[in-house]
C-alpha cells in the first residue's frame, strides 16, 4: 500500500494537459495540481457514478486525455459501468482506482470481500484492453508514463492507505476551493465550450 498523496505527486509529473477528475483523491489533488482549470473536482454527486461521468466526458472530448481517480467502493456500486466503458472504447480514458479496502469516509468499514478482489482482473474481464495493478509506489512510478501513453481505456488498480474519517459530515473540513458549478464553468471555458 502507498499514500494517495505520494502517488498523485508522481502522477502530476506526467499529467501533461490531461483533464483530471480527481474523485476520492480530490482532497490531495487540490494542493498538487498545477492546472486547476483542467480539473473537475465534483465532490460526490452520487456514489458510484464517477466512472460513467468520466466516460461521458471522454466521449464528448475525444481529443483530450481524461484521467479519473475512482475508488473501489464506487466501482463496486456500479460494476456494470465497466463493460459500457470497454464497449465504447474511449482511446483517451485512463481509469485509475484508489483501493483502500474500506469505506473510509464512513468510518473505515471494509468493502465486501475487501482483501480478496482483483479489480484489474475484473476490468480485464469486462473488456478493458490494458489493465494494471500496483501495491508499491516504485512500480507505479516506473510505469505511469508508459501507461498514460497507451490507447485507452486503461485501468490501473492501486492499493492505497485508508484515510479514515469519523467526524459527522457537517463537522468535516471542506477541502474544495471552488464550487462544483465554478469548476465545471472553468473547465468549459478552458475547452471553449459554450454551455
Amino acid at each position: 500500500m502507498f499514500q494517495t498523496a505520494d502517488m498523485l505527486k508522481i502522477f502530476q509529473q506526467y499529467r501533461g494537459d490531461a483533464i483530471v477528475v480527481p474523485g476520492r483523491g480530490g482532497r490531495h489533488w487540490v494542493n498538487i495540481s498545477a492546472k486547476p482549470e483542467r480539473d473537475v473536482p465534483l465532490g460526490d454527486p452520487a456514489m458510484g457514478g464517477h466512472a460513467s461521468f468520466a466516460l461521458g466526458l471522454a466521449l464528448a472530448q475525444p481529443d483530450e486525455r481524461i484521467v479519473l481517480f475512482d475508488s473501489e467502493g464506487d466501482v463496486l456500486m456500479n460494476l456494470g459501468a465497466l463493460p459500457t466503458i470497454a464497449e465504447q472504447e474511449p482511446k483517451n480514458f485512463y481509469h485509475l482506482l484508489l483501493d483502500n479496502e474500506c469505506y473510509a469516509t464512513t468510518g473505515g468499514q471494509p468493502v465486501p470481500n475487501a482483501k480478496n478482489i482483483a479489480y484489474d482482473i475484473i476490468a480485464r474481464g469486462a473488456g478493458y484492453p490494458h489493465t494494471f495493478a500496483f501495491d508499491n509506489l516504485e512500480d507505479f512510478s516506473n510505469n505511469i508514463e508508459v501507461i498514460l501513453n497507451l490507447p485507452g481505456p486503461v485501468f490501473v488498480a492501486m492499493k492505497v492507505v485508508p484515510e479514515i474519517e469519523n467526524d459527522p459530515i457537517g463537522r468535516r473540513r471542506r477541502w474544495q476551493t471552488r464550487s462544483r458549478e465554478q469548476a465545471i464553468k472553468d473547465l468549459q471555458e478552458e475547452l471553449g465550450i459554450t454551455a
Binding site: 452520487a46 457514478g49 461521458g56 466521449l59 456494470g80 459501468a81
Partner: protein, 172 residues
C-alpha cells in the same frame, strides 16, 4: 393512413425530434416501450448509442457528456427510472444537467386503472423529485418532445417525456 396508424407514435417521428433538437448521444437501456427505436437509431450516423446495464449509470454518463458540450438523451423505462433515484438527484439535478429522459411508461392506461405498480408510482416519483414531465402517446403529441428539450436547456434540469403505449397495445 389508417386510423390505427395515425394513433401510433412512430419511431421515425421520435428520431426526427431527436435530430431536430441536436441530440448527439443516446444513453439507453432497452425496454418494451421504446425498443422500436433501436434499429433506426443504430442506422442514424449523427447519433452515438451508449448502452448501460443499470439505469442510474445513464444520469452520470449524460452529465459527463453535457459538461463536455454534447447533447445526450436518456432512454429508459419507468422501472429503471425509479431505480435511479440517487443518480437523478446527484448527477441530474445536482449537476444541473439539461437532459431529456424519454421514459417508457410501462403499465400506463388512459382510463387510469392499472394492475402494474410501475405505472402507479411513475408520476409520483417524478413529482417527488420536482421533475416536469410530458406525456406522448402518438405522433400528434410529438412536438411535446421539443418542448421538453427547450425546457431542459432553459432550466438546466432533467425533463421527462413519458411514452404512453398506444401502438402495440401492451398496456390496454
Amino acid at each position: 393512413m389508417t386510423q390505427s396508424q395515425q394513433a401510433q407514435l412512430s419511431p421515425e417521428t421520435v428520431l426526427a425530434e431527436m435530430k431536430k433538437n441536436g441530440v448527439t448521444h443516446v444513453v439507453w437501456l432497452p425496454d418494451s416501450e421504446t425498443n422500436w427505436l433501436y434499429l433506426l437509431m443504430q442506422a442514424e450516423p449523427s447519433l452515438r448509442l451508449i448502452p448501460v446495464s443499470r439505469e442510474g449509470q445513464a444520469f452520470s454518463t449524460a452529465a459527463g457528456l453535457s459538461v463536455g458540450g454534447k447533447t445526450p438523451i436518456i432512454l429508459i423505462q419507468n422501472t429503471g427510472l425509479m431505480e435511479s433515484g440517487d443518480s437523478l438527484r446527484g448527477w441530474g439535478l445536482g449537476m444541473n444537467t439539461p437532459v431529456v429522459l424519454m421514459v417508457g411508461y410501462r403499465g400506463w392506461t388512459r382510463h387510469g386503472v392499472t394492475q402494474d405498480t410501475a405505472a402507479t408510482y411513475t408520476e409520483r416519483f417524478l413529482n417527488a423529485f420536482g421533475i416536469t414531465y410530458y406525456l406522448v402517446e402518438n405522433n400528434a403529441d410529438a412536438p411535446r418532445i421539443s418542448v421538453a428539450f427547450e425546457e431542459a436547456k432553459r432550466t438546466k434540469r432533467p425533463v421527462a417525456v413519458l411514452v404512453g403505449d398506444e401502438y402495440h397495445g401492451f398496456n390496454r
